[in-house]
């Protein structure tokens, strides 16, 4: 039975992403290479060149152009894809707003990498946390399997007529992008049936010219459009949950909910994480559980829309919560802390600590997570830097 659904292969996160794009029958790819995303687009370029993937591959001179090119191709009703990283996604920031504002169901992958100065090509999530307000849904993957599956799921969610917003899929630099793991490669025919064909109700039509995103005065439906976007994103949570269980059923897959609650049922203390560091955190949770400590983990699989209600449900009964950021916001606590605290405000009274970890690829060890769990007993803190200044 299983062999009909998928076959197992050893592949890196970037390979898994490229295969996911192929499975999703993407017709246009425009991308500019940047470490550590490069092998995604190299793999896709190979697939197009050797006829394995029937797509148009547009080589562009920058990330700004890559996003603009796929915005235009998607607007003409053709399923499109791009990928970037770090400074590349920063350069895309402006056209990210345009793609979302035009309600184009694009999917892109971002391999999370630090932002300079100084130059650094290693893992950190600040690049995409900087994009959390662009109108793109955000998914943070923990494994190469999730990296592949989230491409298929991403198109399904983005193209849902009730949502119609683009989806950004994240995987951690090197930890996932360049590390090999066994991955169940989804069956091509089944994947094709699952994503279906892209059907946009409104698309570029040379016979019926129109202005796309042209000027609107303060009275025009500008504010209404923004509200509609915000509502579509915020109310998407139910639809996303249904789509995840639909995906799991169809592919015998194991995607979590918007959050992945690990050993939370009777937990006293818990951490919140996103991305590949969650695996080390889960290992730590298991280790501490063996010693009899009631600890757990909430991993954010989706970060936008923010699953506030799910976090609230998961933290009920906790004595302490720690929010772990692999990103940095200057002049305030971390964005995940803000989102978690906002979701809990006035509804549960749990002390929350905030940790900054793993910037620029800094190692995050089991003993670091152990220390974070220990500190939760003390209650609130300002913000704490983990594994800094100790070399």
């Amino acid at each position: 039975m299983e062999s009909v659904q998928s076959h197992r292969k050893i592949m890196t996160g970037n390979e898994a992403v490229a295969v996911g794009v192929k499975l999703a029958k993407v017709k246009v790819i425009a991308a500019y290479p940047i470490t550590p995303q490069t092998t995604i687009v190299e793999e896709l370029a190979d697939m197009v060149a050797n006829g394995e993937l029937d797509s148009k591959f547009i080589e562009v001179e920058s990330e700004h152009s890559a996003m603009s090119a796929v915005t235009a191709s998607e607007a003409s009703g053709v399923r499109s894809y791009t990928a970037s990283s770090s400074h590349g996604i920063l350069y895309m920031h402006e056209p990210l707003h345009w793609a979302a504002g035009m309600r184009l169901p694009l999917v892109m992958s971002v391999v999370n990498r630090a932002i300079g100065p100084p130059w650094n090509i290693w893992g950190e999530q600040t690049d995409t946390f900087n994009q959390k307000d662009t109108g793109w849904l955000q998914i943070y993957c923990e494994s190469n399997q999730e990296a592949m599956d989230s491409i298929l799921l991403g198109y399904k969610i983005a193209e849902n007529k009730k949502i119609l917003l683009p989806v950004m899929n994240m995987l951690d630099a090197f930890t996932l992008s360049h590390t090999s793991e066994p991955v169940d490669v989804r069956n091509q025919k089944k994947a094709a049936e699952y994503v279906g064909d892209l059907e946009l109700d409104s698309k570029l039509d040379f016979k019926n010219p129109a202005g796309y995103g042209s000027l609107l005065g303060p009275d025009g439906p500008f504010m209404e459009m923004k509200k509609d976007m915000r509502d579509s994103m915020y109310n998407a949570i139910g639809t996303i949950k249904n789509e995840i269980s639909n995906f799991n059923e169809q592919f015998s897959a194991e995607l979590p909910g918007l959050t992945d609650n690990f050993m939370m049922e009777d937990a006293d203390y818990a951490l919140v994480t996103a991305g590949a560091i969650s695996s080390t955190a889960k290992y730590t949770v298991r280790k501490l559980r063996e010693k009899g400590q009631k600890v757990g983990l909430i991993r954010l699989y989706f970060y936008r829309p923010f699953p506030g209600e799910d976090v609230l449900k998961a933290v009920k009964g906790l004595k302490g919560l720690g929010v772990v950021e692999r990103n940095l916001s200057f002049g305030q606590r971390g964005p995940t802390y803000e989102d978690v605290a906002t979701s809990l405000y006035g509804r549960v009274d749990i002390p929350i600590r905030n940790y900054v970890v793993g910037l620029g690829g800094r190692d995050i060890r089991v003993k670091d997570f152990e220390r974070m769990f220990e500190d939760l007993v003390e209650g609130d803190n300002e913000i704490e830097w983990v594994n800094v200044g100790v070399k």
């Binding site: 409104s202 202005g211 796309y212 042209s214």
Partner: protein
């Protein structure tokens, strides 16, 4: 269905007169009907019309189509006046 930022109204039909602080006036006795102003106007405010009664430098030009500015659609940018190779368009300050 979301509200899409798509407009089927051409910019040529958008009223622009409230933007204007000065308006272009064509001195037809200098106008050779070259249509450069027509081509450059960003708001498609200039039409070309066949009207031999409109003044021209001499009778050779009077059979050609002359530019006619529809001030409802003119935003007063002055591009036509800058581009006219014969200095036939003058921007005149609007009265308030």
């Amino acid at each position: 269905m979301p509200i899409l930022p798509i407009t089927y109204v051409s910019t040529s039909t958008r009223e622009m007169s409230s933007w204007r602080t000065s308006k272009p006036i064509i001195e037809y006795s200098k106008c050779t009907r070259c249509a450069i102003c027509w081509k450059f106007c960003p708001d498609v405010a200039i039409d070309l019309v066949s009207d031999p009664s409109i003044k021209s430098p001499n009778e050779k030009f009077s059979s050609l189509e002359a530019p006619l500015i529809n001030l409802n659609y003119c935003k007063g940018c002055g591009i036509c006046a800058t581009e006219c190779p014969f200095g036939a368009i003058e921007m005149v300050r609007e009265e308030i």
